[in-house]
């Protein structure tokens, strides 16, 4: 890239055993994270799980109680915020209300005492890049939400930060604009090739944008992985539940077969789950079986492969691209199944219908039972 905003330093970020406590609240606990140069990593988790705190620790706005922040191979703990050379976009954009678009965008360069001619040229390029040319003399309050968002991005990219930190930058936008901005943000990040750490509590956004996702819960990272990894192979019940929708059946290992483990659910049903020979738990261990709703096959009694759960349809919800079946297994468990609204003839299932539910053994995941 030859544009002004294209000369990223592509730094990597490493957090080592970071901890931060606010009074009685352990906001971040023993957190390790590695972000490779040029990667887009999301910190995903429910409200209050410590995402913003983690981001602010990286930025240098919060001092961690313990641990190290390493950026581009350099330990940053004692480097003050304004010398870290990072970029931050906050949820409300934090545009300077008393500065024009141009003044906002060039703020970082002016703080670095860049040459005026240089500032003007690079600002022009940056504004063009985020499609704001012509608006440079406006004040922030004269801009739409999306435009403000782009000013914040341009302002941040113009200083060629080593890492781009984004704290729910799309949170304030409506759904349509939000989706458009997601695409724009991702392509901009690719184009610039910058390392980005993105905080969100919106799992869909994280799945769409990220190279890797770090799912956080109560100040700790539960799992880090590529989006499909997180979705298909959640390692904890929390991750499975937080990303997408998931059915859980609690039970006990009762037998092992090549490539699969047999589970007796607490309700008494016998189900199979695909598992590696070495990773499989021993007989008698309490486990949780997790199956995504779209992996469930709902059929008339006697029509499916075993093991299958007999169940009754409790509700049918039509959502356009799919139909959701809310089911109650004969053994008592509640299940939800999605059926794609595709070209095949729709199965006419009404509430009260008796069905059997089954799934390919490889579609189910075996998770440790932490509740018991």
């Amino acid at each position: 890239m030859s544009t002004a905003v294209g000369r990223s330093k592509m730094a990597d970020v490493e957090l080592r055993a970071i901890a931060k406590r606010y009074g009685a609240v352990q906001a971040v606990a023993d957190l390790d994270l590695r972000v490779e140069p040029g990667q887009f990593v999301s910190l995903l988790g429910p409200s209050g799980c410590g995402k913003t705190t983690t981001l602010r620790i990286i930025a240098g706005l919060v001092r961690p109680d313990a641990g190290q922040v390493i950026i581009g191979g350099r330990v940053m703990n004692d480097v003050p915020v304004h010398h870290r050379g990072l970029g931050l976009v906050a949820q409300n954009y934090a545009l300077f209300p008393h500065m024009t678009v141009m003044e906002n965008v060039t703020f970082g360069l002016r703080m670095r005492n860049a040459a005026p001619a240089d500032i003007a040229r690079r600002a022009g390029e940056a504004l063009e890049m985020v499609r704001l040319t012509g608006l440079q003399d406006r004040y922030p309050r004269q801009l739409s939400g999306g435009q403000q968002q782009r000013v914040a991005l341009a302002r941040c990219l113009l200083v060629e930060p080593a890492v781009l930190l984004l704290d729910e930058p799309l949170g304030a936008l409506d759904k349509k604009l939000r989706e458009a901005m997601q695409v724009e943000l991702k392509s901009l990040q690719r184009q610039v090739g910058i390392t980005a750490i993105f905080v969100t509590h919106d799992q869909e956004e994280a799945l769409t944008l990220s190279d890797r996702i770090a799912v956080m819960h109560q100040g700790r990272i539960q799992q880090v992985g590529a989006p499909h990894d997180i979705y298909e192979r959640p390692r904890t019940r929390f991750v499975a539940e937080f990303i997408g929708v998931c059915n859980f059946l609690e039970g006990e290992v009762v037998g092992r077969q090549p490539g699969a483990v047999m589970i007796r659910t607490d309700g008494g049903a016998l189900v199979a789950v695909g598992a590696d020979a070495h990773g499989a738990p021993a007989e008698g261990v309490k486990v949780v079986v997790a199956v995504r709703p779209e992996k469930l096959v709902v059929g008339a009694p006697g029509t499916s492969h075993s093991p299958a759960l007999p169940a009754r349809v409790e509700a049918v919800v039509y959502v356009g691209t799919a139909v959701h079946y809310h089911l109650r297994a004969a053994t008592g468990e509640r299940l939800i199944a999605y059926r794609q609204n595709d070209a095949a003839a729709p199965v006419a299932l009404a509430p009260g219908a008796e069905v059997v539910v089954s799934w390919p053994a490889t579609a189910a995941r075996l998770l440790p039972d932490v509740s018991g």
């Binding site: 930025a59 706005l61 934090a94 300077f96 209300p97 703080m111 941040c156």
Partner: protein
């Protein structure tokens, strides 16, 4: 309906501002009964005396200079405190707040005695300076401009601090964080973000403190000396001499000064980009 809501304010203004102002204007256009028991015709004599005499203009100048000094000192001392007050999350914030307003809680007489204990010839400061061998003879810290400026700054500081703090509190911290991440050190953050955004507060605080200073009187009477001649003292003397008429003319002078300042405040202290 909205007009109805304003009624109490208008009645209040009428009773406590417009009416006294009218009386004052009227009085200022006649000569004192003490000097003219027979009464006088309407005249601008009081004004020609106030404006035409270098002596009164010098007093006016001294009054303005005192206002500028106290206001500047209050601004410089008050800003950091206001900033801290606005930003701190400490649970002891209310203690600090109490300390800030404490000068207003104490009556003027007690406060002045406090200053006498500190600044007097045999006061704490002089005793300390002499004990440390820094000065041989006690410094004149009171009954002069120094004492007046210190005392007025002390009692008017709360107005500055509270005005500034309420405005600074309204500036999102995220702006400072963002500026810092963008490479601004503390001075740049203050200079380019906090100060310009708190300009309205600065304007309000400056106007408030200036007007209170040029109108203040008891502190100057108690802590000033023969050199600290300002308009309110002159007005007080005229009232003591029952020359209310000349006092009224001098009062108009003070009022004009305040109005000019208020007008200037609205024009000078504005935040750019505000609606």
């Amino acid at each position: 309906m909205p007009a109805l809501l304003l009624t109490p304010l208008l009645v209040f203004l009428l009773a406590f501002f417009v009416l006294p102002f009218g009386v004052m204007l009227y009085e200022s256009l006649y000569l004192s009964l003490v000097q003219n028991p027979a009464g006088s015709a309407m005249t601008f004599a009081n004004y020609t005396k106030a404006f035409g005499d270098a002596f009164y203009l010098r007093v006016l100048l001294q009054t303005v200079a005192l206002g500028v000094a106290v206001t500047a000192l209050a601004l410089v001392l008050g800003y950091p405190v206001a900033y801290f007050l606005a930003r701190t999350r400490s649970r002891r914030r209310h203690v600090l707040l109490f300390l800030v307003i404490s000068p207003l809680v104490v009556s003027i007489v007690i406060r002045s005695y406090g200053w006498m204990v500190l600044l007097g010839r045999a006061g704490t400061v002089n005793t300390l300076l002499q004990a440390l061998g820094l000065v041989e003879r006690p410094l004149p810290l009171m009954y002069n401009w120094f004492g007046v400026v210190v005392a007025l700054t002390h009692v008017l500081l709360p107005f500055m601090i509270l005005t500034l703090a309420s405005v600074i509190e309204g500036i999102p911290e995220s702006l400072e964080d963002t500026a810092a991440v963008l490479g601004a050190g503390w001075w740049s953050r203050f200079r380019h973000v906090i100060l310009p955004l708190s300009m309205e507060g600065v304007g309000a605080g400056v106007t408030l403190v200036f007007m209170l200073t040029i109108g203040s009187f008891v502190s100057i009477l108690l802590l000033g000396g023969s050199d600290t001649l300002v308009l309110p003292l002159l007005i007080y003397q005229q009232i003591t001499l029952l020359n209310n008429n000349f006092a009224a003319a001098l009062g108009m002078l003070l009022l004009v000064l305040s109005v000019v300042l208020l007008y200037a405040q609205a024009r000078i202290f504005r935040v750019r980009g505000a609606a």
